[in-house]
């Protein structure tokens, strides 16, 4: 993707997201206010409140004016009000965001590093018994949906062995502090992170392995070998480093998959992040919250993708020559 098209692409992506978020509730049959605010709002609804909401969303005006009102409130950071939590949507999301960032960040780093490392080893020994075993194993692992992996880990380590807590992000009302608190948090995040890491290992692995196989045939590898470099230097410094680059282009896409993976895994472990919040919002039909989470997640993934696109030509100058 060259620079100009890039901006256009992201612009179109943002437009699609905003259009979905704006049109879906308004296209539903029945009172649009109900679809925008969900069942929970009915209980709190008074004629005055209703009048003020209709005015705020410009619901009595044309679709374009409604869209204008929607965009202007978005720009003021107003994602709406959750009647289920009785708090502004943005506050509810911000409360659970740190936990999600914690497990997603940790598993992104772990799965990428582990994937690259396994990919280098496997590609170096291509065609050997180890390589075949690793390839078959990781491809099968790829077939396990993240929530099933999470459930398996939960049953093995939580229920059968009892070494890990079954749910939550820390022991409630424990009054722990300092090191004990850190350990408690680590213990609670171990299984969700393990599930996410295992489920997303194969992407980095397969890509690194495939690149490794083509890099090993490159002329510079022959030169390096002819110079009499050690196997170690050949494997990591020459072949390995060059096989890592494509992985970086994919991190943005993988981040998107990890976010959706976290959604399911958090539900399995009742981990109080954005995914669990979404699940509860779906149960309660808390539409403002569902929409808020949707905007938040898609925007963050797009921004992450964009940063990767911007960063990559600096890491691999060959890319910018290509256009």
């Amino acid at each position: 993707m060259s620079g100009k098209y890039n901006i256009v692409t992201y612009g179109v992506a943002f437009a699609i997201i905003l259009a979905l978020n704006f049109l879906l509730p308004r296209m539903m049959p029945g009172d649009p206010l109900m679809a925008i605010y969900g069942d929970e709002a009915l209980i709190a609804m008074t004629p005055e409140l209703k009048a003020s909401l209709v005015e705020r969303f410009a619901l009595d005006q044309s679709l374009w004016q409604q869209f204008g009102a929607y965009i202007s409130s978005l720009f003021q950071g107003d994602l709406g009000y959750s009647y289920y939590y009785n708090a502004p949507v943005i506050d509810v999301i911000m409360g659970s965001l740190p936990w999600t960032l914690l497990i997603i960040g940790t598993s992104l780093v772990l799965s990428t590093l582990l994937g690259i490392l396994l990919g280098i080893e496997s590609g170096w020994r291509r065609g050997s018994r180890t390589d075949r075993a690793m390839l078959a194993g990781l491809m099968s692992l790829n077939g396990f949906p993240d929530f099933f992996l999470g459930l398996l880990l939960l049953i093995i380590f939580g229920v059968l062995l009892g070494v890990c807590p079954l749910s939550g992000a820390m022991t409630p009302y424990s009054g722990l502090s300092g090191m004990a608190l850190v350990l408690d948090v680590l213990k609670h995040m171990a299984l969700p992170v393990a599930a996410l890491t295992l489920a997303h290992l194969s992407g980095g692995y397969l890509l690194t392995r495939n690149t490794m196989i083509s890099v090993l045939k490159a002329p510079f590898m022959l030169t390096a070998r002819a110079k009499g470099l050690s196997q170690r230097a050949l494997k990591y410094r020459h072949a390995g480093r060059n096989s890592m680059l494509p992985v970086i282009t994919m991190t943005g896409i993988w981040l998107g998959r990890l976010v959706t993976g976290a959604l399911f895994v958090e539900l399995v472990f009742a981990y109080p992040g954005v995914g669990y919040l979404t699940y509860q919002a779906l149960l309660a039909r808390d539409y403002p919250l569902i929409q808020g989470v949707f905007l938040m997640v898609t925007f963050s993934v797009l921004i992450a993708n964009f940063s990767v696109d911007m960063l990559y030509p600096r890491l691999d100058p060959r890319v910018s020559y290509a256009y």
């Binding site: 692409t9 992506a13 491809m139 099933f148 998107g256 959706t260 539900l267 149960l283 993934v301």
Partner: protein, 281 residues
Amino acid sequence: MHIDIKAEIKRSRAGRIGIALLLLIIAFAILAPLLSGYDPGQQSTDSLLPPSTSHWLGTNHVGQDIWSQLLYGARTSLLVGFGVGIISLVLSIIFGVSSALIGGLCDNIVMRIVDAFIIVPMVVVVILIAAYVKPDIPALIIILSALSWQGGARVIRAQALSLKERGHINAARACGGGRPYIAWRHIIPDLGPILLVEFIYGVRRAVFMEAGLAFLGIGDPMLVSWGEMMRDAMKFSYLDVWQWWLIPAGVMLSLTIIGLTFVSHAAETVIDPRLKGAEVA
């Protein structure tokens, strides 16, 4: 690209394992009424029974036979999977090939839209739509297809662009063949293995999404689905029931996806011969 793809897939062990797994699941789905004596939706007062000769995998919390739910669950999964696979493949071909042949502004616009869809996380979009629409199977197939043809269109367009420059296409054009004729007679048949890989990707995504949505509880509650089974079973994980309730549903789902992954891997090796000799033998 005149390769006998069937022979190539059969030659690789991954391909054979994958095809065997898929045939097994398809047999389960087709023979479900013969393999089980119970209606999967039939509730009874015998809830949470352990496995026995009458209920091979026991019963669930509302007294439904788990074995027959497992078999009929294969129907839901495969129906959604293959439905989405076919529809999104057709959409990919239409947009990919026409965009490559027409070129210019049209190509540019289609590709910008395709790229935009590729970077938006699809699962989150599907969840948002499903939360409002509460789709039944046909609606789910349409929603998933509409959101999953874009990646394939990109790959098919790239291949069609390179095919377009070949000699026999020029010859066909010189003989007066129009764009639809060239697309239908010359481009699409030569896309062979790529179409298979994209089709399997589509099926795999859809199988996963259907189970995921049911797991989140935003599928059709009347449907028998592996995701739904896992969601119900999860609530009883403190009992022993996970052994014959949760695990079989998860294993069936995983085997389906693994089967698809293995077949697509074997087919990918056909497309990219550089990977050859390094496959799972």
